[in-house]
């Protein structure tokens, strides 16, 4: 049903952000808003990539550090950092990125399928690569990132339980 009326085929709108030296993009449909960095309350007993919780207009949402999730080096906080608030099936999760460039329209024809070019830990979340005039944008599957984070949480927390229980007896 999606309109594909534009001449020259359909296009996507993506939010482009940076992480380390790369540019990444996520579909704008799964992004609710982009907010500036703020104080994040840590939640104990969660894996390191769970940065904590913030108050988003009365709603408490978890915030993930994408660098830590991908296993990149940790970067000290700076003014460019943003929290990309994503909404996947009603689950609101904030994602910390180094900076946000823009929202871009990318024609489908400019998107190439996943290639072995991307080899980092983020490769498993890859949808494709968008080529624009000045750069390559790695398109990420935000839903997969979130569900994967959930799985990791459960796994790491179970381990933590086991350790706790041991220490208990």
């Amino acid at each position: 049903m999606a309109a594909e009326t534009q001449t020259g085929g359909s296009e996507r709108q993506i939010v482009v952000f940076s992480l380390g030296t790369e540019s990444y993009g996520v579909d704008i449909a799964s992004v609710r808003e982009i907010i500036v960095m703020q104080r994040i309350t840590p939640v104990p007993r969660t894996p390191e990539f769970v940065q904590g919780i913030i108050n988003l207009r009365g709603r408490v949402i978890p915030v993930l550090d994408l660098r830590k999730h991908f296993g990149f080096d940790v970067k000290p906080p700076d003014e460019d950092q943003r929290i990309v608030v994503t909404d996947v099936d009603g689950e609101i999760v904030g994602i910390i990125v180094d900076s946000v460039f823009s929202v871009m329209r990318v024609p489908d024809s400019a998107i190439e399928p996943p290639s072995p070019m991307v080899t980092g830990p983020e490769a498993q979340y890859l949808i494709g690569i968008a080529k624009t005039e000045d750069r390559l944008i790695i398109l990420l599957d935000i839903a997969k990132i979130i569900t994967d984070a959930e799985k990791r949480m459960l796994k790491e927390m179970d381990l933590a339980h086991a350790v706790l229980d041991e220490g208990d007896s």
Binding site: R39, T41, P42, V43, P44, R45, T46, V50, I53, I54, N55, G58, R59, V60, I61, P62, E91, I92, V93, I146, A149, E150, M153, L154, M157, A160, H161, V163, L164, G167, D168
Partner: protein
Amino acid sequence: MAAASIEDSEEFRIFLDELGEMVELTEANLVELEKSPGDPGLISEVFRAMHTIKGGAATLGLEDGVKVTHAMETVLDEVRSGSRHLDSSMVNLLFSVLDWLKLWREALSTGLSRPSPVSLLEAIGAFSPSKAAGPTGNSLSGTGGSETRLPPPLEEAIENALAQGKTPAVLKVKFRREAPFLSVRAFQVITYADEIADVLGSIPSTEEIERDAVGEELSVYFTPAEKGEAVVRAVSSVTDVTLASVEPVDQSRAQEVDETSPAPEELEPPAHGTAGEPPVQAEPTTATGVPGGRSAGDSGSVADGGREFQGQSEEAPEDTGERGTGNRGGSKQAEAVAPAQHAPLVRKTDLGKTVRVDVSLLDFLMDTVGELVIQRTRLTQIASKLQAADETAATGQDIGTLAAHLQRISQELQEGIMRARLLPLKNIFAKFPRLIRDLSVKCGKQIRFEMSGEDTELDRTVIEAIDDPLIHILRNAVDHGIETPEERRRKGKPPGGVIRLSAWHQENHVLIQVEDDGAGVDVEKVKESAVKKGLLSSEDVSKIDEKQALELIFLPGFSTAEKPTEVSGRGVGMDVVRENLERVNGTVEVRTRRGQGTTVTMRLPLTLAIMRALLVLAGGWIYAVPTSSVEEVVDFSGDDLQTIQGKPTIVVRGKVFPLISLQGVLEGAMWNVGKSCQYALLTRNGKSLMALAVDDLLGEEEIVVKEMGRLLSRVRGVAGATILADGDPAVILDVNYLV
């Protein structure tokens, strides 16, 4: 025609709700009826429930439901009128009717195939040999109208009218043979007649018409006789009326040989949505009572329990002018509440005092009020900041006053909304008498089940959460608690056991207790079983006392029953009970005395979304600890710290408590009590107390509990989050799971 979308309609959903409620209510009433057979109040309630269901089913064209309830209603009516006894076989029949209705409801709501009513109808039919199961016109048998005599109330009404010098007359109407919706037509005739003249009564009576006891003939008695012509004109417009005539009453009384032996008439639900519905509930009219303006129209639902309708259909009589001004001496109530002239037919009784509200709306309101509370707290803070500086002190004062007002208002609002979320425990208690009854029959045990406090109210989420645990505990009481009659006799106990379910308020908690006078828990067996299952070493087991041993039954995978029985089932155990309760901040405790019985007590918070909490500082972050789980706060920033086996402890009034660092326990090093720690919270950790060391206390506040999303919903020891006055979120700790 309309069948395609009926399942989506609001009416359908309301009907399902109502059906569920009625079935539960009736179940409870039946269990009561077994104890006090023949209680007329209970019988009427059961009857009314059937009637209500029938009405709803008929409106929606759910034929099977109409048939079943109608058949049952017919049998019950005989009980009600005293011509039949309610014996145990009939109670059992009623239970099967309820079971069928449950299945049917389930099928309706899930869209699965619906149960067949055939065998059930046969069973019911067996109870009413005089009339086949199913709606039949048994019009006058009950009221003795088959003689030349009129029914006494009508007789009396006519006498009275004559005595007052009025001129009674009778309108005789014949309907087309086998016309559908005869009862609706009969109502229409009576209504139209009543709009023009004063109706004294009718044969069949309005009560009988309600029960579909309508034949092809209808006699309506009215005054004054002069209006006869107008009445005939009006009722002639009613569909399927083939003949209408008026006679003065003395003459007709002599001839009143009532051959109204109406042909059995299958009740047809208005599946095709044409004119009329089957008649639905209305209170029996009194002696001189007139069915004041009762009518069934072409649209809308049927007057339910209200005598006060003046419905208007397309076939309304021409002489509208007379309506409303007409002499309606007999229907005073009608006038008092008579709706506006062109008012559509509505279910009057439902418009009374309650409104059904979607739970999500309540949740939304709750959240919004929570926001309001937070903003108000901020305002208070701003006010005190302003007051602190000289140049803004006056403004600060004003804002402070404002904030105080706001606080009162928001508090009232909050309390109101929380009250709206409360439901009486009746909602889940109602089914327990039946449950116990069935289980005790299955187990061959005699059990008296007593219930109290079912009006106690709790937040709906809490109610939902305790439903399964309660069922489990009650099952346990029947299956493992109460002994068989023989066994009880051997022990010198009365053969019948008692299970008592009670609920009551205690401060801001509700306690729910299940008590039995059965065998009690065999603690040694519990220990043995724990060892056998590898939950505990035999060495450990020898060290624990009885209380601790009882705690073992809450361990996952524990069950003392040698073999899982059909009643107790398998899989679900007390561990699930505890887990369910803890999810809503509740606790459960078991006490037992060998040979004398077991008491299980659940302790539940009244409401969920807002709680009082201590705000504490640990490792530089603020945490909220529910006040309900803190017994005491101790300032130990001096001396009391001691070490036993390398673990810190504190002594409070001669008692020794292990001292656990909050920051430490959150980071995985719980014995690491930092120098910064000043206070200790004595908190319940399961059954025992522990001292939780924190850096600072920031006060006690009402906090709004917020969810943190699915990602963080399963963090051990973390119950949720709240938003502090400065807007920062803080983690709410669940001390039961900290260690």
